[in-house]
Amino acid sequence: MDIFLQIVINALIAGSLYGLVAASFSLIYSTNRFAHFAHGGVIISSGYFLFWLTNTLQLNLLLSAILTVVFAGLLGVCLNLFVYLPLRKRDASNSILLIASVVTLTIMQSVLTLLFGSSIKSFNYPGLHEPMGFLGAYMTPIQIVIVLSAIAMVTLLSIFLKKARLGKTLRAVAENPKLAETIGISTVSTYNWSFFIGSALGGVAAIFIALEQNLLPSMGIGLVIKGFAGAVIGGLGSVTGAVYGSLIIGAAENIGVWFFPSGYKDAITYVLLFVFLLVRPSGLFSKRNA
């Protein structure tokens, strides 16, 4: 029973982390309509930014975390302005934007390797990783923060998309960019906003990933694929669907490590994704076709 509860808790923690990645990826994807793979690079760069603030500049963790979120948002906007916008101006197709996003990801990965080296960077906050008993299972303080923040962030994002003016604008551009332009919405500034909000949310994920899993320059691609996979399994275009999909991935990984060595954890996700795309490509909670 305790083991079962521990698996549920671990699945919930992993699902919350991936859910933040998936929700942020999904927000950018649905507004911009292409797969922004460099989102993984934004997340991992933000993780390194946090590392630089806390370890090199010795700033306190809370202030560093806030700065990291702002940094992530601005980095996302910069990518949009300096990579995607020039391509869109040249009428680049979706495939070209997608290739450019993968290349941007590898550029960030190489730059991070040049700046920080290719070895693992870890954070030293022992208090955050002190296991606490919880109904016979264990959770660390940072894990509790991760789960609560993920729930709060996703709820806020859903409310924002439904109620706020900017949220409605984002959805309008996602639904029909040309129609949105005719009623006076600037798609260019909407794209920028979606990159800012999506990337800042990715920055929140970056903080937790950095504190919970440590950092490697090559982590970006795996993260964005898991985020994309969560969004696809849940049904692309819906933020809550992306979170459900991520919970399924978190559960699959944590059940899988009982049957396979833990090194295969990532492979489990990708096999699950493959099966899903073969059997139900439109995802669990979406009526839209792939």
């Binding site: 680049a92 993968v102 290349v103 190489s110 694929i225 990708y270 994704l273």
Partner: protein, 289 residues
């Protein structure tokens, strides 16, 4: 100095095979294939393992390519119902699966330490251990790959494949199964990638998982975009350019921990600049959707 030029020429022939095979899936079929490096890895690992248990060199690289081809067919299966972004996602996911397996199945692949002492190639009793002999052979293989792909592109299969890329519905209306075209072309692409991988492994005689990551795929993608999609001659020119591009880095006395990422950075930047300035490359005629 001569040895240096020979090794560069061998790399050109091997990268030409890598990029010609990518032309089949990305260029002719228009299939966003980001998993190409995984098929190279499968060919490299399979042929090396076969050689190590005593299978003759020629047979082992052909078998390696065949195994890679079977995986290629498997990966293409979900494409019946999927388009663009999803194909990129599936192929990227597949390349990560192969990487994870290569890293963790230590009993078979040697894990992070990789496979060492891959037997140096021999063909009909002639040793190809010297670089000049190997170059003759790898040039022969790359030329065969070029001629076969060139020939295939002009057959009804090749024409139908390109028709399916440009207008899927229109091709289906003619009674042609686009699903079959795409899966077969993807398997072919994987076959030649596996062949190149086998050749590569036997040339460097040591492989480990770090040779088969996304970063190693970028130069191959850069070759195909620079040469122009479906332009096989442009691909040769681009291969020479891309293989030579980071060579000046070798002469700046940089430490090896800087050279690796600097090389990768130079390829990624080249590709990004190309995409912004000249997405159709030297001789490209087609546009990806």
């Amino acid at each position: 100095m001569e040895a240096y030029f020979l090794s560069l020429l061998i790399l050109v022939t091997i990268y030409w095979i890598f990029s010609l095979s990518l032309q089949v899936s990305l260029g002719f079929a228009g299939f966003l294939n980001f998993g190409h490096i995984a098929f190279i890895a499968i060919g490299a690992y399979a042929s090396s393992l076969l050689s190590k248990v005593g299978v003759p060199f020629g047979l082992s690289i052909l078998l390696g390519a065949t195994i890679s081809m079977m995986f290629g067919y498997l990966v293409a299966l979900p494409c019946r119902r999927l388009k663009g972004d999803y194909l990129a996602l599936i192929t990227l996911g597949f390349s990560l699966i192969v990487f994870v397996v290569a890293l963790n199945w230590a009993g078979l692949t040697g894990g992070p330490a990789g496979l060492a002492d891959i037997p140096s190639p021999q063909l009909f009793g002639i040793s190809l251990a010297s670089n000049s002999h190997f170059l003759v052979f790898s040039f022969f293989v790359s030329l065969c790959t070029y001629l076969i792909i060139k020939r295939l592109s002009a057959t009804p299969f090749g024409t139908a494949l390109q028709a399916a890329r440009d207008d899927e519905l229109g091709t289906q209306v003619l009674g042609i199964s686009t699903f079959k075209l795409i899966t077969v072309s993807f398997a072919l692409s994987a076959f030649f990638a596996g062949l190149g991988g086998g050749l590569f492994a036997h040339y460097i005689t040591f492989i480990d998982p770090s040779l088969f990551t996304l970063s190693q795929f970028i130069p191959i993608l850069a070759i195909v975009i620079l040469g122009g999609l479906t332009s096989l001659e442009g691909t040769l020119l681009a291969t020479v350019v891309v293989v030579l591009l980071p060579e000046p880095l070798r002469f700046l006395s940089l430490s090896s921990s800087v050279i690796g990422p600097a090389r990768e950075l130079s390829y990624s930047l080249l590709l990004l600049i190309l995409l912004v300035l000249q997405p159709r490359g030297f001789y490209g005629k087609i546009r990806l959707k």
